[in-house]
Amino acid sequence: MDFISQHAVLVVSLVKIAVVLFLAMTALAYLSWFERKVVAHIQSRWGPYYVGAHGLLQPLADGLKFLFKEDVTPPASDQLVYVLAPFLALSLALTTLALIPFGPPNVRVFGQPVFVISNSNIGLLFLFAITSMGVYGVALAGWSSNSKYPLLGGLRSSAQMVSYEVSLTLSVVGVLLLAGSFSLNGIIESQRGHIGHWYVWPQIIGFLCYITAAIAETNRVPFDLPEAEGELVAGFHTEYSSFKFAMFFMAEYANMITVSCLATILFFGGWLAPFPESWTWQLYLPGVGLLALALYCAYDTVTSMRGVARLQLAVFTLLALVAGILCLLPAVMPLVQGPFWFITKVGLFLFLYVWVRGTLPRFRYDQLMSFGWKLLLPVSLVNLLATSFVILLGKRG
């Protein structure tokens, strides 16, 4: 106990890191399930269905499969860099989560905020610092494989990520000017009030630029040129197999989550509720939402499941029921509000990602480059100039 009180920052941080890492890994796994399910329904298919009820155990099965596959290392590859690249990609992608505030900073244990691992004054700059390193994973993977298609994929992706990083950063500066702070919690606090105070309204152009650049930055459809299978087999990860391939996959999903979290924080009020604080009925929403989920699962269990799947879904129903009742307890209710809204908003952004993937075809490489430099960059620059001009006018008047 003495040790804990002396090194409260260290102990609490380690616990928080462990919890966030576990939750992030679970979220990554189920994001793959979510993506396959949504894309399948967009294309009038069922998606994963057989492993567990509604294919809910599919991510687990996929993970096990990756673990047991043969790990091939091409003999002509640069061994050290070849192994380093996937580790770099995944660890950098997960590190960004340390800066994301999942809830209000005033909930504290041992004097340390619970919902954020590292509450820095210049959190946004650190986030950009870490994401700016993300390109190495892809570029080095392409180079170290010592093979034609991966090298082309790696080159393409470095050029693409460097180009779109400029627009990504510039599109965010408008929000920084409005909030007057680099701290992520500070940016959220300055949007306090209701849905009308969110920065998405004054910064609608900045938001559109951000979301476009973010999709390109995470190498997703329609900007997934680094792994265009029609031209490059699988791009930078052609030679990777087994768990190293899975690590690239996980890094891509982790980047999607980070980018969605950042969009939520910068433009959609982070963990703030969309309704005015005087509407007290909104406190019941998390619990009622979970209870509704439990009700739907119970209905599904009884009507359409049989055998083992019925048992699995029954367990899931019970979990949702218990969580729902917990969220309605007066002691817990105020605590779950922040994370509830944050996760809901991030979930909507992830759905948008998958929706875009199910809808749009891939750009050609020259289109990608001219779009990034000749349209996105000027638009975000003009947006920045207009924002600073309006702020200056407001200060004069």
Partner: protein, 166 residues
């Protein structure tokens, strides 16, 4: 031993290791990676000194932008393994002793100087960017803008040189 103290020695060691590997390794990409290691280790050292902003900018500008360009160019040119040459006579008889003397001089200076013994107060400022921007955009605005124009001229010069060969 306190935690920042251990962190300092780990990062200092990593920085020196990276610097040595940068010179020793024969593969250009390995050299570039070692340089990135040096940059990141330096950034963590800045962080332990309480200079959050400098640390972030160090990573964004050096590790995230300049080194990406280095790696990109090495990959694009498909630069091969360096060839080893024998040490030149100059390096052997003049360079090495000079380097040793220089190192000894620096060591002696650090040993004597009062700043080396004093621990730096490593608490981050509340608004590190505000103080910096006041300095850059009020006090030193002319040198700052002059530098940016200088960089612009350098970029244009590089473009002109690259175009001339066609």
């Amino acid at each position: 031993m306190s935690l920042p103290f251990i962190l300092f020695f780990v990062c200092a060691g990593l920085a020196i290791l990276g610097a040595v590997l940068l010179i020793v390794s024969r593969e250009p990409i390995h050299s570039a990676l070692s340089l990135i290691l040096v940059m990141v280790a330096l950034a963590i050292l800045y962080l332990t000194l309480g200079a959050e902003f400098i640390a972030a900018v160090q990573v964004i500008v050096y590790a995230g932008a300049i080194m990406v360009l280095f790696v990109f160019v090495i990959m694009l040119l498909n630069a091969g393994v360096e060839e080893r040459t024998n040490w030149s006579q100059m390096a052997k008889y003049a360079g090495l002793p000079l380097a040793v003397v220089l190192l000894l001089e620096i060591a002696q200076w650090f040993w004597r100087s009062p700043t080396s013994a004093r621990a730096v107060n490593g608490t981050p400022e509340a608004h590190p960017t505000h103080a910096l921007s006041v300095l850059l955009f009020r006090q030193y605005v002319f040198p700052f803008e002059a530098t940016s124009i200088l960089i612009l001229i350098a970029i244009l010069g590089a473009l002109v040189l690259a175009k001339r060969q066609e």
